[in-house]
C-alpha cells in the first residue's frame, strides 16, 4: 500500500479527553456526487474488475446508472429562439453601422447584458442556419449578404473595444423615462430606467432606484450617485467615415475635426439628458416628502416628549422639596418631644430617688433605729441615720429603688435591718463603699 510520509505533527489532545473508547463521531460525510469515471487506464480497469465481481449488468442497469450521472457537456444550442423577419434578412451588409448587431444574432432581448458565451452560442446557431455554402448546396441562391451581416455582428460583439463603442450608442437598450405626469407605481416606472442607464456607469455596483422600503440613506446615496454619474459612454461609433486616401488631406483633417466636435457635443447632450432624468425622478419621488413628513413628525414627537419630560422634572422637584420640608418638620418635632420626655423622666427619677431615700430613712425610723425598748437615744438615732445617709449616697437610683421596694411594708426591725445590711453589702461588694465607713448597721 502507498503511504505518504509527512513531517507534520498531529493535534495534542487535551489532558482529560472526555469521550469514551478513544473515538468520537460528530457528523456524517456529505452526500456524494454521481459522476462518470472515464473507463480508461490500468487503475480504472482494476476498479472495474472489483466492481463487476462476476456480475453482468443489463441494458436496464445502463439506463438507471446513466440517469444518475452528472452531465458535463452542454446541451446542444437548440432552435433559434428569436424570429427573423424579412427586413432583417434582407439587410445590406455594407450598411453595418445601422445594423442592430444583437438582433442579427437573435439576442436582442439580452443586448448589453449578453455574456460572451451567449454571443458565441447565438453566432453558432446563425452560422449553422445561414452559411452560404449550405444554401448553395441546397440549390438556393448564392446570397451571402445576411451571412456577412452575421459575421460583422460577431466581429463587433466579440471585440471588447468595438462592443463598448456599439453599446454606447445602442439606444434600443434604453428604457424611456415616464413623463412627469405619469400615474402609477413610481418604482415600477423608474427602476427599469435607472437599471438600463446604469450600464454606462464606470462605478459598480450601481445603486437602484429602490422601493418604498428604501431608507433615507439609500435614497440619498442614490441621488448622490446619479447626480455625480461617471459614464464611460462615448460616441465614436457615430463618426462620419474619414476618407482614407492620401490625396485629400485637408478633407480628411476636416472630417476628423468635425467628428471630434460631434463626439463632444453628444457627450454633453447625454450628460444633460441623464440629469433631466434624475431631476424628473427626484420631482416624482414621493419618498422624499415621506421622509420630510416623518422627520417633522419625529421632531414634533421629540418636542412633546421633551416638554413632558421637563414638566415631569419640575413637578418631581417640587414634590421632593415639599417632602423634604415635611420630613424636617417632623424630625424637629420628634426631637423636641424626646427632649421633653427625657427631662420628665429625669424629674421622675429624681422624685423617685427622693421618695426612695425617704423610704430608707422612714424604715430606720419605723424600726425605732434598731433600739430595743423605749425611745431611741439621740446618739443612736444620729449614728443610724448617718449610716443610712451614707448608704443612700453609695447607691445609685436603681439600687436605691431596689432597696426601697424591698423595704416596702416591712415593720419588723430585724427584717428592715437585714435589707439595709444587704444594701450595704451590695455596695461594698461593688467596691463603692468600705465596711468600716458604716458605724452601727453592720454591728
Amino acid at each position: 500500500m502507498n503511504v505518504v510520509v509527512t513531517k507534520h505533527t498531529l493535534l495534542p489532545a487535551e489532558p482529560e479527553w472526555p469521550h469514551e473508547g478513544g473515538f468520537h463521531i460528530l457528523e456524517h460525510l456529505s452526500e456524494p456526487t454521481h459522476r462518470n469515471l472515464e473507463p480508461v487506464g490500468p487503475h480504472y480497469l482494476a476498479h472495474a474488475r472489483r466492481k463487476r465481481h462476476h456480475r453482468t449488468f443489463s441494458e436496464d442497469d445502463r439506463i438507471v446508472a446513466a440517469q444518475q450521472a452528472k452531465n458535463v457537456e452542454d446541451a446542444d444550442p437548440g432552435e433559434i429562439s428569436e424570429p427573423e423577419d424579412a427586413m432583417l434578412l434582407s439587410r445590406d451588409p455594407k450598411d453595418w453601422k445601422n445594423q442592430d448587431h444583437y438582433a442579427v444574432l437573435g439576442i436582442s432581448k439580452y443586448r448589453w447584458k449578453a455574456t460572451d458565451e451567449q454571443i458565441k452560442r447565438a453566432h453558432r446557431k446563425k452560422v449553422l442556419k445561414h452559411h452560404p455554402d449550405k444554401k448553395a448546396a441546397a440549390g438556393g441562391v448564392d446570397d451571402d449578404n445576411f451571412f456577412k451581416c452575421i459575421q460583422k455582428a460577431m466581429e463587433i460583439l466579440t471585440d471588447p473595444v468595438k462592443r463598448r463603442q456599439y453599446d454606447s450608442v445602442d439606444e434600443s437598450a434604453d428604457v424611456d423615462p415616464p413623463s412627469r405626469k405619469a400615474k402609477g407605481n413610481i418604482y415600477k416606472l423608474w427602476n427599469p430606467v435607472f437599471d438600463s442607464e446604469g450600464r454606462f456607469s464606470k462605478k459598480k455596483p450601481v445603486p437602484r432606484f429602490g422601493d418604498d422600503k428604501s431608507t433615507k440613506a439609500n435614497v440619498e446615496e442614490f441621488y448622490n450617485f446619479w447626480y455625480n454619474f461617471d459614464s464611460w459612454r462615448t460616441f465614436e461609433y457615430l463618426d462620419e467615415d474619414v476618407p482614407d486616401d492620401n490625396e485629400n488631406r485637408d478633407q480628411k483633417r476636416h472630417v476628423e475635426r468635425k467628428n471630434k466636435a460631434a463626439r463632444a457635443k453628444r457627450k454633453t447632450e447625454d450628460t444633460a439628458r441623464l440629469r433631466k432624468i434624475v431631476d424628473d425622478a427626484l420631482a416624482m419621488d414621493v419618498r422624499l416628502q415621506k421622509f420630510r413628513k416623518e422627520e417633522r413628525l419625529q421632531k414634533d414627537a421629540k418636542k412633546i416628549a421633551r416638554e413632558a419630560e421637563e414638566k415631569r422634572l419640575v413637578e418631581e422637584a417640587k414634590k421632593k422639596a415639599e417632602e423634604d420640608a415635611r420630613r424636617k418638620e417632623e424630625e424637629e418635632a420628634a426631637m423636641k418631644a424626646s427632649k421633653a420626655d427625657a427631662k420628665k423622666a429625669k424629674e421622675a427619677a429624681k422624685n423617685a430617688a427622693k421618695k426612695n431615700k425617704r423610704v430608707l430613712r422612714k424604715g430606720a425610723e419605723d424600726a425605732n433605729y434598731f433600739h430595743s425598748d423605749g425611745a431611741a437615744p439621740p446618739d443612736v438615732v444620729a449614728n443610724v441615720l448617718a449610716d443610712v445617709e451614707l448608704l443612700i449616697t453609695k447607691l445609685d437610683n436603681e439600687e436605691l429603688d431596689v432597696v426601697a421596694k424591698k423595704l416596702a411594708g416591712l415593720k419588723v426591725s430585724d427584717e428592715i435591718k437585714s435589707v439595709l445590711v444587704d444594701g450595704i453589702r451590695g455596695s461594698v461588694g461593688k467596691g463603692s463603699a468600705a465596711e468600716g465607713d458604716f458605724k452601727v448597721l453592720l454591728k
Partner: protein, 570 residues
C-alpha cells in the same frame, strides 16, 4: 483475460482522428507508446482524401491537392459524422469539397473516376476510407495485420456518433475495441509516463488547440482514475485562425506591392494558406521565418519574412480568446485557477510558444504547464491523443468484446464522488507568521471516486503525550491577502470633502491566496501516550456507501485506534 499461454499476441493500435490530422500509435513490448510515421514520413497525417484521375490520395498528398483540385478533395469532415445537414458548420470545408445533404446525413459529391458520374460519398464512407489508409500505414510499419484499435473523439461526440465511428472503422476491416475521449487520452499519455504505480492526486486542465477547434476539459485525476468535471469548446478557434492572421498580414503586404489581393482568388488563397501554415510552424521553433511563393497572384511571386514578435502581435486576440476559454472552463468546474495543479497543452497549435507562455502566466507558478515551450520534458502535444489511445489499446488488447462492454458499462463507470476534501487537522506550533496554526492535511480530495483509501504517516508529537486525530471535511477558500494600503494615504482621503470617487478607479491588484479550511469535523480519535518524535500512521478509508473508517497507530508500536463513521444513508 490476458493469458501467458496464448501464443498469438494481438496487434492493436491507437488512432487519434481529428478534423485536421490523424495519428496512429502503438505500444512497444516494453510498454512505451510511440507514434507511427506513414509511408511519407508523416506522424500527423492530414485527415484528407483527394481524387485525381482514378487515383485516391491520402494525407499530406491529398492536402496539397487543395490548391489544384479543391472540389475533389475532402477535408475537415470528422465533426460531420452522425450529424444532420442542419447541424453542421460547413465553414472549414469551404476551400475543399462542400458538404451536401444526403438522406438524413451529410455527404460529398466528388469525381472519383474519370469516366464515371460523380459519386456521393457519405461522411461514414469517407471515414471508412480514411481509417483504411491509416490502418494500412500502421500495418506496413509494424509488419503485422492490425487486430483492433482504440480511437479518440472529442468529449462533445454523442453516443450515436461514437457508434457510427466504430461501424465506419469496422467497415474498413478494423475492429474498434473502445472509443475514448481525447483529453482523457492525453492525460493517460502523461500519467502512464510516470514511474510510480500510485499516481499523485491532481486536478488537470487539458487544453487541446487543434486546427479547427479548441477544447478544454477539467479532469480530476484521483488514484490514477479520471473524472471529467467540466468541458468547454470553441468551434471557431484553432490553428486555422492563426494561419489566417498570417494570411491577412502577407496579403496586405502583397496588395501594397502589387495592388492585388491574393485572398480574392481561391487558388491564390489556398496557396498562401498552405505556406502560411508552414511559416507558422517554423515560428514555433525559430524567432523568424521566411515565406516564398511562386506566382502567388496576378503572376507575381511573393517573398517575405516575419518574426515571432510580429506573429504574436497578429495573433494576440486569438490567444486572448484561448485564455478566456480556459478561465471559463475552470469557472464551470466551480474552481479557481489555483485549484488546477497541472495544465496539459495538447493539439498541434500547442507548439506555439506564445500560447504556452500566456497560459503559464495565467496560472500561479505552482501550476505545471506541460508544453514544449514551458517544459523541455513535455510530450509532443500533437501526439498525446494517439499515445493515450495506444496505451489503452494495449491494456485491453486481450479482452473479449463482452468484457470490454461490461467494463465500460455505466453501472461500473457511474460512481459516487466525494463532495468535499477529507483530511486530518495538523498542528504546527510555529505557523506562517510564527503563531501556532492548525491546518488541514488532505487525504482524499473532492471528486475522488469511492471506495477509496489513503494512508499517511505523521510525526505524532514534538513533545510527547496523547495525540488527537481530528478527521474533517474541508473547503477551499479564497482569502484576500492584499497588503493594506498605506495608512497615511487613507487619512488624507478622509479630509477630502465630497469627491473621493476618483480614487476607486486606480484599482489595486488583489492578492488572493487559496487555503484549505475545516468545514466540519466528522470524527476524532485519541491515540494515547505517543512518545516524542514517534511516527503515527493514519489511514482513512471511505466505502462505496460513504462509510468512513479511521485507523491510527504508532509505527512499530502495538495496538492503536480504529473507528467507523457510518454513511448518512444508514
Amino acid at each position: 483475460m490476458s493469458d501467458s499461454e496464448e501464443p498469438q499476441q494481438k496487434t492493436v493500435i491507437g488512432i487519434a482522428f481529428g478534423n485536421s490530422n490523424s495519428s496512429i500509435a502503438f505500444t512497444s513490448p516494453d510498454g512505451k507508446a510511440e507514434v507511427i510515421a506513414n509511408e511519407e514520413g508523416d506522424r500527423q497525417i492530414p485527415s484528407a482524401l483527394s481524387y485525381v484521375g482514378d487515383e485516391e490520395y491520402h494525407g499530406a498528398q491529398a492536402k496539397s491537392h487543395l490548391i489544384r483540385n479543391p472540389k475533389n478533395t475532402i477535408a475537415y469532415f470528422r465533426d460531420f459524422l452522425g450529424k444532420s445537414f442542419a447541424d453542421i458548420d460547413p465553414t472549414n470545408a469551404h476551400s475543399s469539397a462542400h458538404p451536401i445533404q444526403h438522406e438524413t446525413g451529410v455527404a460529398f459529391l466528388v469525381e472519383e473516376k474519370t469516366d464515371a458520374e460523380p459519386s456521393t460519398l457519405t461522411v461514414s464512407e469517407i471515414t471508412t476510407r480514411h481509417i483504411k489508409r491509416l490502418q494500412e500505414s500502421a500495418s506496413d510499419f509494424l509488419g503485422k495485420k492490425i487486430d483492433g484499435c482504440v480511437i479518440t473523439v472529442p468529449t462533445d461526440f454523442s453516443e450515436a456518433q461514437r457508434r457510427l465511428l466504430a461501424e465506419a472503422s469496422k467497415a474498413s476491416g478494423l475492429e474498434v475495441l473502445q472509443v475514448i475521449q481525447e483529453p482523457v487520452a492525453s492525460l493517460l499519455a502523461y500519467t502512464a509516463r510516470e514511474e510510480t504505480s500510485h499516481p499523485a492526486d491532481k486536478t488537470v486542465l487539458v487544453l487541446d488547440i487543434g486546427g479547427t477547434r479548441t477544447d478544454a476539459a477539467v479532469i480530476a485525476s484521483r488514484g490514477g482514475m479520471f473524472t471529467l468535471l467540466a468541458t468547454q469548446h470553441d468551434y471557431e478557434l484553432g490553428g486555422r485562425q492563426f494561419d489566417d492572421a498570417l494570411v491577412d498580414h502577407f496579403s496586405k503586404e502583397f496588395i501594397k506591392k502589387h495592388k492585388t489581393d491574393p485572398r480574392e482568388n481561391e487558388r491564390s488563397l489556398a496557396k498562401l494558406r498552405l505556406e502560411c501554415e508552414a511559416t507558422k510552424k517554423t515560428l514555433s521553433l525559430s524567432t523568424s521565418a521566411q515565406i516564398s511563393i511562386e506566382s502567388l497572384a496576378g503572376g507575381f511571386d511573393f517573398h517575405s519574412t516575419v518574426n515571432r514578435l510580429r506573429f504574436d502581435l497578429l495573433s494576440k486576440k486569438l490567444v486572448d480568446q484561448i485564455v478566456g476559454l480556459v478561465e471559463s472552463v475552470v469557472k464551470k468546474a466551480g474552481m479557481d485557477l489555483s485549484d488546477i495543479n497541472e495544465v496539459i497543452l495538447a493539439g498541434g497549435s500547442s507548439h506555439t510558444p506564445k500560447i504556452a507562455s500566456r497560459i503559464q502566466q495565467l496560472f500561479p507558478s505552482t501550476t505545471a504547464v506541460q508544453a514544449p515551450a514551458t517544459n523541455p520534458n513535455a510530450l509532443n502535444p500533437s501526439e498525446l491523443s494517439a499515445r493515450g489511445a495506444a496505451i489503452q489499446a494495449s491494456l485491453i488488447a486481450e479482452f473479449e468484446a463482452e468484457d470490454i462492454e461490461q467494463s465500460t458499462h455505466p453501472a461500473v463507470t457511474v460512481t459516487p464522488h466525494l463532495a468535499k476534501p477529507i483530511g486530518v487537522v495538523i498542528h504546527s506550533p510555529e505557523g506562517d507568521e510564527g503563531k501556532a496554526e492548525d491546518k488541514v492535511y488532505v487525504f482524499l480530495d473532492a471528486e475522488t471516486a469511492v471506495p477509496a483509501r489513503r494512508t499517511a504517516t505523521f510525526v505524532g508529537t514534538n513533545v510527547g503525550g496523547d495525540v488527537l486525530i481530528r478527521v474533517v471535511e474541508a473547503k477551499k477558500e479564497s482569502v484576500d491577502v492584499t497588503p493594506p494600503k498605506e495608512v497615511k494615504e487613507k487619512a488624507a482621503d478622509e479630509d477630502d470633502e465630497d469627491d473621493d470617487d476618483d480614487d476607486e478607479e486606480e484599482e489595486e491588484e488583489k492578492v488572493i491566496k487559496r487555503v484549505t479550511e475545516v468545514e466540519k469535523v466528522i470524527a476524532e480519535a485519541l491515540l494515547k501516550d505517543v512518545k516524542k518524535g514517534q511516527k503515527v500512521e493514519v489511514m482513512l478509508n471511505v466505502a462505496g456507501d460513504l462509510t468512513l473508517t479511521i485507523t491510527a497507530r504508532v509505527v512499530g508500536g502495538k495496538g492503536g485506534i480504529r473507528g467507523t463513521v457510518p454513511g448518512r444513508a444508514q
